[in-house]
């Protein structure tokens, strides 16, 4: 099987890998919406969605009931609903951009997965650890930032195309907010790459290399960057919340003052695309955070994946790696939701103030601090 796969032309392999990635990402996004409801319910002392059931699943003793209580079938119901709902287009919208906006939202979100490694395996021939990645390019994090920030255009487009004041305000807010936090976010990862690209090494921005540098031998080598550079992680995390428009930073859609923000005029399937894009964003953002600061697919600090899977068959090892990575990512997705149902939304001016007056100086100071610190270490 693997041989067959490896013998395929590269573009076919890429396509297959891409489809698999999308096939995983979109359901994960759906599951996130479900999880969001469940998490909010639990936090609020409710059972959450627990009614929908497919008859033949219901016939399975215990399991059927348990699945129903978990609300998994609501996902299907939701999806079906989005697909079959009447497609209402308000008369006053700019049709072309209105239709394009959700696509613009989803495409960059899905594209970023290309450069994000989601696991690793020991290549049988070289006996070295190879990343599971669609495109192992050197630009890595830069590509993530570059493509990921394209999604703001979707929001602006949606806001503009809706030809209505609340969506417009939402779009404006989205653009301002993304620009504000993009800076801090980018600055916050510089120390990581300073560390990874210690003088002597060949310069890389690959996320695989970031993980690799967290799986070295020795105390500092096996330490995850979150312990090494907590301030970076913190700034990155905060900026990530802002970038993904998650509460407490969901300015573009803040329903209390903007009705529904940029997607006020959207409904049914088009609206669901925004939804999926947001969750994909969140998933990939979580993944990047895991890679940068939580050791990627390494199961525990100082215990690199290689150590665990060296004796396993290749495919099992790969699965363990993917499992570790997904586990951490899912925890992070949960963390996103947890925060959402804990913190209240900021006021817009607070968001701006925080971004420019607090986070950005902090990020700059942080870069300077780590640059100096790393220089000191290198020099010594």
């Amino acid at each position: 099987m693997i041989d067959l796969y490896l013998n395929l032309p590269v573009w076919v392999q890429a396509t297959i890998k891409g489809l698999i990635a999308i096939g995983v990402l979109i359901p994960v996004a759906g599951a996130c919406s479900m999880a969001e409801r469940k998490v909010s319910a639990w936090i609020q002392g409710r059972p959450g969605p627990n009614r929908a059931i497919v008859p033949w699943v219901a016939w399975i003793p215990f399991v059927g009931k348990a699945l129903q209580r978990l609300g998994v079938f609501h996902l299907m119901a939701d999806g079906a609903k989005f697909v079959f709902k009447e497609d209402v287009v308000p008369g006053h919208v700019n049709k072309f951009y209105y239709y394009v906006a959700p696509l613009v939202a989803l495409i960059p979100a899905l594209c970023t997965i290309v450069v994000v490694p989601f696991g690793a395996y020991i290549d049988a021939t070289t006996e070295t650890l190879k990343p599971l990645i669609l495109a192992d390019v050197d630009v890595g994090i830069l590509a993530v930032f570059a493509i990921g920030s394209l999604s703001v255009y979707a929001l602006i487009l949606a806001g503009w195309a809706s030809n209505s004041k609340y969506p417009f305000l939402g779009g404006v807010r989205a653009s301002a907010q993304l620009i504000s936090y993009e800076l801090s976010m980018t600055l916050s990862v510089i120390p990581v790459f300073l560390w990874v690209n210690a003088p002597g090494g060949n310069g890389t921005l690959s996320l695989f290399d970031v993980v690799e540098s967290q799986s070295q031998a020795g105390f500092l080598g096996g330490m995850w960057f979150i312990f090494l550079m907590p301030m970076c992680a913190f700034i990155f995390l905060v900026a990530l919340f802002a970038e993904t428009n998650r509460q407490p930073f969901d300015m573009p859609e803040s329903e209390s003052d903007l009705v529904g923000g940029f997607h006020t005029e959207y409904g049914e399937f088009k609206w669901s695309l925004f939804f999926v894009a947001e969750y994909v964003h969140m998933t990939i953002g979580s993944g990047v955070f895991v890679l940068l600061f939580l050791g990627g697919w390494n199961p525990l600090p100082w215990i690199p994946l290689e150590m665990v899977i060296s004796s396993m068959p290749m495919w099992l090892g790969a699965l363990v790696g993917v499992g570790c990575f997904l586990g951490k990512t899912f925890f992070f997705i949960f963390f996103f939701m947890w925060v959402r149902w804990t913190l209240p939304r900021f006021r817009y001016d607070q968001v701006m103030k925080l971004g420019w007056q607090k986070l950005l100086p902090l990020a700059i100071a942080n870069v300077i601090f780590y640059a100096l610190a790393i220089a000191m270490i290198e020099l010594s």
Binding site: W42, I43, Q44, G45, R46, W338, W341, T342
Partner: protein, 180 residues
């Protein structure tokens, strides 16, 4: 001076970062998450209906099975949304409760109009109309939502009576003035 400046304790550095507060908040919500649910899973689980709950208005019978309503139409009069419609009628002289003389021939409550205010119950001199514990009423048509007399008695059932005033009246009639 119509206002007073309240002295506030200056925030510490930790407080100003808000991080401890956020962590605290996260702890709180996490604790809530693992606690059992507080909601009631209607309709499998039903809430306990408290005494004096004002549910769907119903008509009741007394323990002897006599319909208590005498169609005085006070409820019809007092009903703020005009949901009640009564057609008065005379009780058949051969009936056991012929001494009551009057009973509704038709009694309709339009539940689409009813606002559950309970004034009808309050005004009823015969204690015949009661807002009981039925709180969910639904139907597919407007007609279905108009409760007629049969439906009202079905919903209302029989309530205990303290007075039995009509029975006493009948007994007095049977006894005549001789007793005193």
């Amino acid at each position: 001076m119509s206002f007073k400046t309240v002295e506030r304790k200056p925030l510490t550095f930790a407080e100003r970062t808000y991080v401890p507060q956020i962590v605290n908040g996260l702890m709180t919500t996490f604790k809530k998450m693992v606690k059992p649910n507080e909601t009631l899973e209607y309709p499998e689980a039903r809430p306990p209906i408290p005494e004096g709950y004002r549910g769907v208005p119903t008509l009741v019978k007394d323990p002897n099975g006599r319909e208590k309503c005498v169609s005085c139409q006070l409820c019809e009069f007092v009903c703020p949304p005009k949901a009640i419609r009564i057609k008065p009628g005379e009780i058949d002289p051969t009936s056991d409760s012929a001494h009551v003389e009057k009973a509704p021939e038709a009694f309709d409550i339009d539940m689409l109009r009813c606002i559950y205010c309970g004034l009808c119950q309050e005004v009823c001199p015969e204690e015949a109309i009661w807002l009981q514990n039925v709180f969910s009423l639904s139907g597919y048509t407007r007609e279905e939502m108009v409760n007629d007399k049969d439906k009202l008695y079905e919903l209302g059932g029989t309530l205990p009576d303290k007075h039995f005033k009509w029975d006493q009246k009948k007994a007095a009639e049977d006894r005549g003035n001789a007793a005193h």
